[in-house]
Subunit: 337 residues, 2 copies
């Protein structure tokens, strides 16, 4: 049942949900919960969207896990994948930085991009992750050491233990490669990963299954959100949940990846990929027809739809404060004593 679909913008409603209890003492001057405080929240996806979500989550919990697609094969990540054979580090790096000690010089250094010469375009953090993986012989250890360096509060895990490739159906033709898919001028149909049976990272799957709340999106629908969610072990973990999985829709179509798709189209696509969600968070600027389509998707066993003012004033992206407040209000209440 959609509590709020089509209703006014009074924010997320009742039915076992409500404003989450304060997450505990705030760290002075940073308006963030103290280490270990707050609900267990796992965010799944990739790209800039996921790192924005992490910044929003930090406002109400210190127990954040990011489960990150490593299917990226473009840019600095793609070049490193080709030369090292490791999973794509770029989206993991962004998440590490999003959860880093904000005063850390290394957080800035990880985002530093070289200009000119053979290193042109490489983010230093990608090189550090790749180098640490080379030294330790283990990609996971490289992430753990990087997290320590950056003073990360939370965990950053790859969705799959090894590298995978994203495959999408475009007009009945298989298009292979995340970078190519993200540039497709024709509508993308179903996406999947190659190899199809790539195992999920066990800790990542557990973090999805066990969290108080799981947040999908916002971000590139096919090449970030679904790239992580269609990993079989992640999808199964999502299916095992009975509440508290929220899909945050994008503020506007992303060109060309989701050209012409409104929030209802995004949600329909997520559900078509057999990704189970219990709540959908939509910006209150949604048009009447969009709200109507969402209400239709929300009938029966469909997810509850919630509206809130989520965009920055210029609507360029979600406002971390507003998104954090809306998501905090959707954390399932734990059973009372």
């Amino acid at each position: 049942m959609a509590d709020d679909a089509g209703a006014d913008d009074r924010g997320p409603g009742p039915s076992g949900y409500g404003r989450h209890e304060p997450a505990g003492p705030m760290t002075a001057g940073q308006d963030q919960p103290a280490p270990g405080a707050g609900p267990k929240v796992t965010a799944v996806g990739g790209g800039h969207g996921l790192s924005s979500t992490l910044r929003a989550l930090r406002r109400y919990t210190a127990r954040v896990t990011a489960v990150v697609s490593v299917a990226d094969d473009g840019g600095s990540s793609g070049r490193l994948r080709r030369s090292t054979g490791l999973p794509a580090p770029g989206d993991l790096r962004r998440c590490l930085v999003a959860l880093a000690d904000p005063t850390s010089l290394w957080a800035r250094a990880f985002e530093h991009r070289f200009v000119g010469g053979e290193l042109d375009g490489h983010a230093l953090g990608n090189l550090v992750i790749a180098g640490l993986a080379g030294v330790t012989g283990d990609f996971r250890s490289a992430l753990i050491e990087s997290a320590r360096l950056l003073g990360v509060q939370g965990r950053v895990l790859p969705a799959t233990a090894g590298g995978v490739v994203l495959k999408g159906d475009v007009d009945g033709v298989d298009v292979v490669g995340q970078a190519r898919l993200s540039k497709s001028l024709r509508p993308i149909g179903a996406v999947s990963i190659v190899p199809a049976d790539a195992p999920a990272d066990p800790d990542a799957a557990a973090a999805v299954a066990d969290a108080d709340q799981v947040v999908l999106g916002p971000g590139s629908l096919f090449t970030s959100v679904l790239a992580a969610c269609v990993v079989p072990g992640i999808r199964d973990a999502l299916s095992s949940r009975t509440e508290g999985t929220v899909y945050v829709t994008n503020l506007r179509p992303q060109l060309p990846e989701t050209a012409g798709m409104d929030a209802a189209d995004l949600l329909r696509c997520v559900l078509d990929h057999r990704v189970v969600v219990h709540d959908v968070l939509v910006d209150s600027a949604a048009a009447p027809a969009e709200r109507e389509a969402l209400a239709t998707l929300a009938t029966g066993t469909g997810p509850r739809v919630h509206f809130a003012a989520l965009g920055r004033p210029d609507r360029s992206a979600h406002d971390p404060l507003a998104l954090g407040e809306a998501l905090a209000s959707l954390v399932p209440r734990r059973p009372g004593p």
Copy 2:
């Protein structure tokens, strides 16, 4: 006066010198002085030789400063110089690692070299130093942050604040570039830096002037030792010293850079470059003619010559333990109370 030139191999002798007092409590299990213990020792040079010296110095003092040539224009350093315009990081990186906490994963990571692709041959530490310099806008800050990351005990300073180029006279022709000089099949004459008036790093010059002991060599004569010593501000600081500057000669000629040169030839070349040294430490395997030539150089105001068994059993390099012991015995005794 040469105390020991031509004498037997009983090790360095008297004349205001002697076994240095124990450097204070040792760190358990590592056989190294505790932080802050030991004489102030500054090592000047570059390349593998300087990092070996630093490992030897660590055995008797925790107050080590490395003053490092940044004239390198070959390999990973050279490629980074060309793409970033920064001073060469490679020799600085080696010194940071030599003075690092030996249990640090980052020390290993700094030495990790990428294999294949566009990063082939780059040491991760070089990329980190270059990236940090890009972020902070300051090469010195990059070295300080790297030292902190590695748990470095001591200081690593560039000989010059900015990048310089090494120039050498080969058969009356100027050959420009350290990498080219190191491959010269013809004898190298005088070397100098370009620009000739490049200022020394002020802290580096002070570390040379103020140290209890300064160690030059072993290592590539022209492209490491002299590349740092002929920086005018460093040479002036060396000239200001009245005792405690030791030149450690190489175990054997380095091909092709010092082909045909024995320890006496190396010392003569150092003195010809107006680099003031008070003691010369020579391996006890020196031949009679070599000892005789050294004794000649040591007459009058020439440096004292000391012999000790310094080489590893396979004579591939200096043995850090033996070199450390010999150098410790040459630290000037401080005036008694």
